[in-house]
């Protein structure tokens, strides 16, 4: 992609393969949602599809990580996610508490078992 960036300029690349692919899906959603009420069956089904898709993204980010996160062993990432979920349940369903517990577990695990 470096060659394309040099030839066309990074801003044109940004519009063509960053902005447009995202905006097309958003505008398609806008057109589809016209005239639909929030309890219509299509809207409820869209919510289930979006939720399942998002859950798939989350699981993939944890199990098949990329970048620097991939340097931390898989078992540590899964353990940290489990710690986060446990802390979330234990501490009044607080997302903050869960995220902090997960990050601390990841940091400790990465420090002890990494590399």
């Amino acid at each position: 992609m470096k060659a394309a960036a040099i030839e066309w300029g990074p801003y044109l690349v940004l519009i063509l393969i960053g902005f447009l692919p995202n905006e097309v899906w958003r505008v398609l959603g806008l057109l589809t949602a016209r005239g639909l009420s929030e309890d219509s069956e299509l809207v409820i089904w869209s919510r289930t599809v979006a939720t399942a898709l998002l859950a798939g993204v989350i699981a993939k980010l944890i199990l098949f990580s990329s970048g620097e996160l991939a340097n931390i062993p898989l078992a540590v990432r899964i353990g940290a996610a489990a710690c986060a979920f446990g802390a979330y349940l234990a501490i009044k369903r607080s997302v903050f508490a869960g995220v902090i517990a997960g990050e601390v577990a990841l940091l400790l695990g990465g420090f002890l078992f990494g590399h």
Binding site: E23, R26, A50, A55, G56, E68, I72, R77, A80
Partner: protein, 243 residues
């Protein structure tokens, strides 16, 4: 359906109530961490900080930005990156369809929906679905725009912070920053899933996503959404019919 309670004297006050909700939510911290990470990455692959800021405003999807910026660094072809971004962006379609009916009142014009449509992203969607039902219908668009512009402003600002701090970021810390996104999305989606239909979609997506990817299924995430969501929807319909 829901008991809308919170009303505001003016739209501008609803807007700032949205800003306040953004600052008090977990995503405020998560977006900071995520964009410090993206800023560092943009610096490492030789993009300018202005490019990163403009991409945050125009693309407004951290996963797509990650794919693009990494693409500049690795030898990926333009086509591969475009395909990755397009597939990752499919999630925005059902999200917008599920969100906009919550924002509309009688007489809402399409142009009032343009900004919330562009602002749709995972963090904004999760928070909107949680908070909007308690807000008076006529103020939901202003509230939503306040919430989203605060998130976007945070992202742009901390993209710059990461960009200029890049050199000193140790590997383990960079990994910890990248972990913020899946952790916060995971727990906030769990928190939002109060009804059986949402819990089912969540669990099915968590199982199907990695499985389809592992099996090498093409368009794995799209199928995860369609199959997982439809099965959850079908079970919900059967339960309703038998009750």
């Amino acid at each position: 359906m829901s008991a809308a309670s919170t009303t505001f004297p003016k739209s501008v006050i609803a807007y700032f109530a949205g800003v306040q909700s953004a600052v008090l939510s977990v995503f405020f911290v998560v977006i900071m961490g995520t964009y410090v990470g993206l800023g560092a990455l943009a610096h490492d692959v030789g993009l300018s900080s202005g490019w990163l800021a403009i991409s945050t405003v125009l693309v407004w999807a951290a996963p797509s930005q990650l794919i693009m910026i990494s693409g500049f660094g690795t030898g990926a072809t333009l086509f591969e990156v475009a395909l990755g971004v397009t597939l990752s962006a499919t999630r925005l379609f059902p999200m917008v369809v599920a969100l906009l009916p919550l924002l509309r009142v009688r007489g809402t014009r399409v142009r009032d929906m343009l900004l919330p449509t562009h602002f749709t992203s995972i963090s904004m969607w999760v928070e909107s679905l949680r908070l909007l039902p308690a807000i008076a219908r006529e103020h939901r668009i202003a509230f939503c725009n306040g919430l989203s512009s605060a998130y976007m402003g945070t992202a742009v600002t901390f993209g710059f912070v990461g960009y200029y701090l890049a050199a000193g970021l140790p590997s383990l810390l960079a990994g910890v920053l990248l972990f913020l996104t899946p952790m916060s999305f995971f727990l906030s989606t769990v928190r939002n899933a109060r009804m059986m239909i949402d819990k089912l979609s969540l669990v099915l997506g968590l199982i199907l996503g990695p499985l389809l990817f592992y099996w090498g299924v093409q368009l794995d995430l799209m199928w995860t959404g369609i199959i997982g969501g439809s099965v959850a929807y079908a079970i919900h319909r059967v339960r309703e019919a038998t009750q």
